[in-house]
Symmetry: C2
Subunit: 389 residues, 2 copies
């Protein structure tokens, strides 16, 4: 168990700002980044039993919610801080803001601190498109998208890149948001039709995505709106008291979820009986459970967002930043000449004081310093390993 | 609800490195900083009912533990990431490394990201000395300190500054650690005696502090070692399977705890019956419960470390950094011209790319931007307020 050599008074923690994440997207293209994150998510979900999982820890307030989303395997620990404040747009702030870290399980040292505001939108879209690849009709060409806010472009471009969806039917109670989305889709060479209602948007859609922000029990999708064979990608219902889908719609087809104990509390299925049958995604990805069984079936992904998706997205972004030479080292954890002598940090702080961020090459930090697990791309039934070299 | 004006492409998040915290200590003195943090802790503990509290969320591994410690009131959310890896010293790493953030409850925006490795040692010492001020004999002059590692100087200097303790009796299985502590205490004008055993260290001590690191059920303090009237400050037993005190010693006097549901699982009292009576500190600080009732009593503080202490320490350090002009603004959360248009961040990233840390005055960031609660220094029985201006 060797540690990276220390070149100054701090351990090497890689910091990625939202500009760094934007630079990754510029270099590779948004569709390719979403698909790359989706590959990491699938690789990690098939190793489901390797992870120490818990529902996220939420602090609710009148205005919104702040959540912590930790997960770990034998090698790497990951946690995301994320809020959800539906009224934030009124004061010019994003509804969802996030950041997080990766850390080494063997020492507890944080190796990566990253913005996750952009990354959350990317990984949410990646998960949605990945699920649809497994359970939507393969001949799908058209997607309705209801809720045209901050996440909508990511959803549409993810589905365009990963499933070849090229026609989008848009609805939002805020027409300005729909026009913004339509403009971005047109720039990407995709067809966008702005509709007058959610029901109109669903007409002739193979896939229906709901991604609204209100913290209410809304009924965005009601019985009769979905044609036979539709895949419903229900993203916006993701905390207690925040739902989008009529219970009868949920009950009309198989419902797929990320992590059942969390989705029972946060997902649209919070409205259903606790023993309503659901299927966890990892079983589908691993081939242990069936996705769609016939073309006329309605399938539902009750998305809430699970910590493992952030784990996967951070390891993708950490590797991409390494490959592209992005990011800086953040002076977060002091390096000690004698680890039992923390007090020494206080003895001559004037002489020790250095910059809080330094260029990466100061640390010769490579992706191996991130201590990310080497993913196993093929489904495996081998038991969790306890050892570590 | 006005937001700070945005001067570049990110929200203002103050970053404090361990060098910044060391600079706060240099400017004010360690004793004064510990006492200042203790004042903040006492102010916040007397508002106990105002806080949304939960035991920390721990991911245990063979090598140690990684924990998240969130807490919030109506105004401010706080979370700490902290590890505990007893064998880290073997590879030159600190046993405990930590960082955390403060955020606004009304918007979810993080306002402060700080190192908490140094700060954790400071707030742990502050809590210990604060408790001893309330329950140790007022004529105490001598403290035994068993475990002379990274936290020991902070404990000793806190007790010296806040209680006037000036004689210290040191023991550690690693004699090098004791010599390091003795040297630091001598430099601070304090008397230090290195002892050959824990039992010898306890002789003639008014206060006994245990702060060992091993993740085992150890018996550092056994029946007969403590004289009548001793206050036992038991710091090192702080997670399941990690204890220091013989159950009979715990049962020999009143036991004070931070947050009972957490201490039942993590503290030395994990070895006792679940209905063994304990007293939460806030009741003592608020005058609702008695501390010591007679000079010959043995009193016990079963310290594990509670999230509210980090909340208090971060608001002290945020204010101190503001007063002293320390810290930098970290590019953690993107600022959006249109909060529903996150995608715009990806449109011209080359032109938007800026530094990840900038001088604070770019943001005109003041302590008000930290959105910290104005503490109520006097005990109060008023109900939690729900509103906010």
């Amino acid at each position: 168990m060797t540690q990276p050599a220390l070149h100054n008074a701090h351990l090497p923690t890689l910091f990625l700002s939202s500009d760094d994440i934007a630079a990754v997207v510029t270099a590779r293209g948004l569709g390719a980044v979403i698909a790359g994150v989706a590959t990491c998510i699938e690789q990690d979900f098939v190793r489901w039993e390797d992870f120490d999982k818990s529902p996220r820890l939420a602090n609710h307030s009148k205005q919104g919610v702040i959540e912590l989303m930790p997960v770990s395997d034998d090698t790497t620990y990951s946690v995301k801080y994320v809020n959800g404040h539906p009224k934030n747009f009124m004061t010019g702030l994003p509804t969802v803001m996030a950041f997080g870290c990766l850390a080494r399980v063997d020492t507890g040292a944080p190796t990566l601190v990253s913005e996750l505001t952009l990354t959350t939108a990317i990984r949410t879209a990646a998960t949605s498109a990945l699920v649809a690849k497994h359970v939507a009709r393969p001949d799908s060409t058209t997607m309705a998208i209801i809720g045209n806010g901050a996440q909508s472009e990511f959803q549409c471009l993810g589905f365009a890149h990963m499933l070849g969806i090229h026609m989008f039917r848009l609805f939002d109670v805020d027409a300005t948001a729909s026009h913004k989305l339509a403009r971005h889709l047109a720039n990407a060479g995709l067809l966008a039709t702005i509709c007058d209602s959610a029901a109109q948007a669903c007409e002739s859609a193979d896939i229906v995505t709901t991604v609204t922000a209100d913290k209410t029990n809304a009924l965005i999708i009601t019985p009769g709106m979905l044609a036979a064979g539709t895949h419903l990608n229900a993203v916006g219902g993701d905390c207690p008291g925040k739902t989008e889908i009529h219970p009868q719609v949920l009950a009309s087809g198989p419902v797929f979820v990320e992590f059942e104990p969390q989705t029972r509390v946060e997902g649209d299925i919070q409205m259903l009986d606790p023993d309503f049958a659901v299927t966890e995604l990892w079983r589908v990805f691993k081939g242990e459970a069936t996705g769609r069984t016939h073309p006329a079936q309605i399938t539902v992904f009750d998305s809430v967002g699970f910590a493992l998706e952030d784990f996967s997205a951070m390891r993708y972004m950490g590797q991409a930043a390494h490959d592209l030479g992005l990011g800086q080292a953040l002076a977060l954890i002091p390096a000690l000449a004698d680890p039992k002598n923390l007090f020494a940090l206080l003895e001559q702080p004037h002489q020790r004081r250095g910059p809080s961020l330094v260029a990466l090459d100061t640390f010769k930090m490579g992706s191996s310093a991130l201590h990310m697990p080497v993913p196993v791309p093929v489904p495996s039934t081998s038991p969790t390993t306890q050892g570590r070299s």
